[in-house]
Symmetry: C2
Subunit: 284 residues, 2 copies
C-alpha cells in the first residue's frame, strides 16, 4: 500500500462551501474500475477533518446519498468529510450478475465472496474496510477519526464492520438496516450465492450473530420507519433488539411512525445521525 | 372550474413530519395526463398554509427538486407547501417531440404554443398559472398566498409569470434563470418552434423584455453560479442586470463563486430563498 494510488477525477461540484467530487480508480480488491464520491467540507481546505462513511443499499451507487440525503449542509457546518463507495463491483460480466436487483451488480452485501463466479471480484468487505480507506488517506486531508453508517443493505454493512472492528470506528449508526441477513430472504439469497452453505461463514457477516458473540461493545444507533415495506420480511429490527437485550449490548432503536424505506426518511433524520457521530468524532 | 378535479395518488412519503405526495390528473390545458408533486408541511394538518411554486429546468420532472434540493426541511420549519409541476406535456407523441433534450418533452418552456404540432398540448403557461393552481386550491389546505421560483428554464418561467401577473405572487426568485430567451440558443430554438417567427409573440415570454416594458415592479431575487457551464451562452444575467438598471427595476443578483448549474448549487442556497419568500408570504 505504499505506492500512491492513481485517481481520475470524474466530476466536481461546489456544495455548501465545500466540494462534492467523484473519482474513478482501479481497485485491486475487486479487480475492476470503481467510482466513489467524497464530500470535502470547507474546513478541509485548511485542516484535516474526520470522516463519515456512508454505505448505500440495494441498486444504489455512490450518487444516491450525495444527491438525496441533504447531508452536505450538516457536514459543512460540522467539518466532516463524507465518503460514499459504490455498492458492488462494476464493469464485470459474471454469469447472472445483472439479472436481479438483489444479487450481483448493486448488491455486493459488503462481504468477501468465497464462491465462483463471485470470489475474484465480490470482495466489498475488503474494499470498504481496507483498500478504499487507504486511497482516501493518501489523497485527502482526513485526520484518522472515522464514523460509519448506511441504509438497508448498507446499514447491514455499517453494523458488521463496526462490530467486527472494535475500536476502529468512533461511532456507528444505521437507517433501516438488514440486521439478521442469515434469516431473511435478501440475505439468504446473497449469502448462499457469495458464501455457500456453510453457516459458519455467514455468522461473521450478520449483526445479530456478531452481537451474540460479543465481538464488540460499541453502541448501536438505528432509525427505522414503521411504514417501511420491508420491515417485517427483511429488516426485523426486533431480532437485534432481542439479542442486544440478552447480551447487554447498548442499542438505541428509534421507530419512526409513518416513515417508509425511501431517501425522504433518510433526509428527515440524517442531521440527527451526523450530530450523533460528531459527538464521538470530535471527542478529545 | 367549479367541477372538482379528480386526482389519483401516485405515491406518498412522510418527510420531515409532513408529506411528499405525487398525483396524476387529466389536464385540460395540456390535453394529456400529468403528474405533479406537492409537499405538505406538518402545519397543513391543522391550518391553511402558503404555497411555494417550483418550476424545474430542461429534462426535469416533478421529482428532481423534491429529491435533491433539501427544501422540505426548511418548508417544514416555516410551514410552507411546495408544488412542483412537470416541465412539459407527457404521453403525447408529436413529430420530433422526443428527439432533443431542449425541445418538446421536458422542454415546455412555460409558454402557450401557437404553432403546429405543439399548440394543442404545449400550453404550460396556462397549466401552471391557471389549471394547476385551481386543482391545488380544490384539494389542499392552502391559504391563497403564493411565491414562485425555479431553475434555468424554470427560473425563466418563474420570472415571466411574476412579471406578467403583478400582485399575484407575494415574491419571486430564481436560480440560474434564462433571463433573455429571445436572445439565446435554447430560447430561440424553443420560441421558433412553439411561437413562430413573429418577434412580438416572443417578448411576452422574455423576462428582459417584460422588465423593459415596465409590466411590474416586483423585486427579483436571483442566484447565479459563476462556474455554470451555461452562463455565457444561455443565461446572460448581465442582460437582466442592465435592463433592470435602465428601468429602475429592483434586482438582487448574487454571483456565487465556484458553483455550477447542478442541484448541488440549488441545495446550497434554497434555504436563503425559502426564508426570503417566507418574509413576503407571512407578511400581514
Amino acid at each position: 500500500m505504499s505506492m500512491t494510488e492513481k485517481l481520475e477525477l470524474v466530476s466536481a461540484n461546489k456544495s455548501f462551501g465545500g466540494w462534492h467530487k467523484r473519482y474513478r480508480h482501479r481497485s485491486r480488491a475487486l479487480d475492476c474500475e470503481m467510482v466513489f464520491a467524497i464530500y470535502l467540507p470547507p474546513q478541509a481546505e485548511t485542516e484535516r477533518v474526520p470522516l463519515f462513511w456512508w454505505l448505500s443499499g440495494l441498486t444504489c451507487t455512490d450518487e444516491n446519498f450525495m444527491q438525496k440525503a441533504g447531508a452536505q449542509r450538516v457536514a459543512a457546518e460540522l467539518g466532516i468529510a463524507i465518503v460514499c463507495p459504490d455498492t458492488s463491483p462494476r464493469g464485470t460480466d459474471l454469469p447472472g450478475e445483472h439479472d436481479s436487483y438483489d444479487l450481483g451488480s448493486g448488491a455486493g452485501f459488503y462481504v468477501n465472496a468465497s464462491r465462483e463466479p463471485w470470489k475474484n471480484h465480490y470482495r466489498m468487505y475488503d474494499y470498504v474496510t481496507e483498500e478504499l480507506p487507504s486511497v482516501v488517506r493518501q489523497h485527502f486531508p482526513v485526520n484518522g477519526r472515522e464514523a460509519i453508517s448506511g441504509h438497508s443493505m448498507g446499514g447491514h454493512g455499517a453494523l458488521i464492520m463496526a462490530l467486527r472492528r472494535p475500536g476502529h470506528y468512533c461511532s456507528v449508526s444505521a437507517f433501516a438496516p438488514i440486521v439478521n441477513p442469515s434469516q431473511c430472504p435478501w440475505g439468504r439469497k446473497a449469502f448462499h450465492e457469495y458464501l455457500g452453505e456453510d453457516p459458519g461463514s455467514w455468522t461473521q457477516y450478520d449483526a445479530c450473530e456478531l452481537v451474540a458473540k460479543g465481538a464488540s461493545s460499541q453502541p448501536l444507533f438505528i432509525d427505522q420507519g414503521e411504514e417501511d415495506d420491508f420491515l417485517v420480511e427483511q429488516l426485523k429490527p426486533e431480532r437485534l433488539e432481542a439479542v442486544c437485550s440478552a447480551h447487554d449490548h447498548p442499542l438505541t432503536l428509534r421507530r419512526q411512525p409513518g416513515y417508509d424505506h425511501s431517501y425522504y426518511f433518510i433526509a428527515s433524520f440524517i442531521e440527527d445521525h451526523l450530530r450523533y457521530h460528531a459527538e464521538y468524532l470530535f471527542k478529545r
